[in-house]
Amino acid sequence: MSTVVEPRNAGPRTVRVASGPDDDRGVVLVWRRRPFVVCVVALVVALVAALVTVSVGELGIPLPELPAVVAGNGTKIQHWVLYTTRLPRLLVGAGAGAALAVSGAMFQSVTRNPLGSPDVIGLGAGAAAGAAAAGLVWPGVVPVPVGAVLGASVATAAVWFGSGSGFSRPQRLVVVGIAVGAMALAFVQLALARASREDAMVIAQWLNGSLAARTWADVRLVVAALVVLLPLALLLTRPLQVVEMGDEAATAVGVRTDRTRTRAVLVAVLLTAAAVSVCGPVAFVALTAPQIARRLTRSSGPGMVAAACTGAAVLVVADLVAQHLVPGQQLPVGVVTAGLGGVYLVFLLVREFRRSAA
């Protein structure tokens, strides 16, 4: 198997990695340089933020000592800090950020609208309601993550039917989604009101979206979700790209538009549910990360890998900020992302209204 890197003749600004002796046979994947660079940069940012997270604070491990701790030669406390608190927290943050971002990229592509992201159209709220139902209202019926999946699915179904023609009318979908989100949050409030004070405290903390006190079980869940769902998202990237050109144009080149949409929504709902069940409905990562990735890569379609890397970086950096913004007090990471994402959401809404008014 040979690898050919050949910038010529492979469409504009592409580098081709080909295998096989003949140009028209074997495996040929199209790579673009810019998204690759963006991914590397995002991962470096995430890694730097992770190293800072590990090293700062009262129990921080100074960077020069980190190799020794990793090698098992640190103090007991250092070992505990790294492996029981900070590393799981970092991994859950990175994994959930990636899952939310990919889910957002897929939803934004399906709805052909940057506002059509799961946190805006009520998916995160639906997952929260499902989790609240499973944790507070009917405890013990299903595990909380399963409740989150169910809640997200119910919210998606409500948006699907509420907007009439499935997901093919993006403007209506955003309005219906906001309504569904409001209803889901009302249900969460109801659940909180009925719960005992201790339970309500726990769930309220969780509803803000928090990465505090994550465990390796959470890491396993989000990693498993990514391992299964990310490849499926990658398989859907090319058809989704085409579906963005309109149903007729997509059908004309041989894409089954309804089937592509259904599959994408399914994968995206599961990704959101997985992320929400490990860190709560962290706001606006799904909205912003794919858009940041798309702008940086100057890509003409949804880029799942770039979105995933950007989402991981965004959530790890946001969590670092959340831990140290107010001295002596840890904010839930959702507060930070909501602050950042809220500004961006207003920007998007203004642009959208200007566009529809024009």
């Binding site: 140009d23 028209d24 090319r238 007729e248 379609g301």
Partner: protein, 270 residues
């Protein structure tokens, strides 16, 4: 012409959007190698019929046959290798270049592990050349004029390398020079051996470029045949409700519809 030879046949199709039935029991066999143009007033079902032929709309009853096979039962990619469509109002993704957009026409020829080939590169080059947009290759589609953009979408359809090309009102929203440019391009693609089926608004344009005309009204096919046989004063009256004179086009000799002056004196008196 027999139905057997036709590459694309509507066989008793009833067409509807939700509960609104647009056309009932239509029969149409596209002649191989023809430039077939469907005409008719707004809302007569001409674009709906084209959508059914392009399998973007499933008929309520009846079937569409592509080379004798029911098109809605074929694999979508297999259809796309034989039949291309220029739809109305396709959406150009944000910040896509002309070359990248045209390359998307290669989708039916590609797979998950076969995302690009020399054949793809050749087809894209050829499509860009045929539509004379190869010098725009690295430009963003959003920066182009309407006429250029339409040629780029046409290039994307050409990149599919199909014998059949369907066009849904390709000249609407273009100024007259760009309309002629697009129609001349279509005529050239037809002359090169493709079978074209188009929906057109402009009767004179249709008569000038078509080899076969199909006139529709109220969801029915009223007449079909050579332009000189179809475009007559009674038919224009019947289909469009327009009193007109039909004279030979001074440039091509094809029938040209000139609407009658509507009693100008009445207007002056009023």
């Amino acid at each position: 012409m027999s139905v057997v030879d036709s590459p694309l046949v509507a066989d008793g199709v009833t067409l509807a959007y939700d509960r609104l039935v647009v056309a009932r029991d239509l029969h149409l066999a596209v002649a191989p190698g023809s430039f077939t143009v469907i005409i008719g007033p707004n809302g007569c079902g001409k674009s709906t019929l084209l959508r059914a032929l392009a399998r973007t709309l499933a008929p309520r009853e009846g079937r569409v046959l592509l080379d004798g096979e029911p098109i809605h039962k074929m694999r979508s990619k297999d259809v796309a290798k034989r039949l291309a469509l220029l739809p109305q109002g396709p959406i150009a993704p944000e910040s896509i270049t002309v070359g990248d957009l045209v390359a998307r026409g290669r989708y039916p020829h590609q797979g998950i592990l076969r995302q690009w080939s020399a054949a793809d590169a050749r087809a894209v080059d050829e499509a860009l050349r045929a539509t004379e947009v190869d010098d725009l290759r690295d430009r963003f589609v959003s920066d182009l004029s309407g006429g250029q953009r339409q040629r780029v979408w046409l290039a994307m359809a050409l990149a599919q390398e199909t014998d059949l090309l369907l066009l849904d009102e390709p000249t609407t929203f273009l100024d007259i020079a760009h309309q002629v440019e697009v129609m001349d391009l279509c005529a050239r693609l037809h002359a090169e051996g493709r079978t074209l089926v188009a929906v057109l608004h402009d009767l004179n344009q249709a008569a000038r470029y078509a080899t076969h005309l199909v006139a529709m009204r109220d969801g029915r096919i009223v007449a079909q045949g050579r332009p000189e046989d179809v475009v007559t004063e009674p038919l224009v009256q019947e289909v469009f409700g327009l009193a007109s004179r039909v004279v030979p086009d001074p440039e091509t000799g094809t029938p040209m519809v000139v609407p009658l002056r509507r009693s100008v004196q009445d207007d002056v008196v009023r």
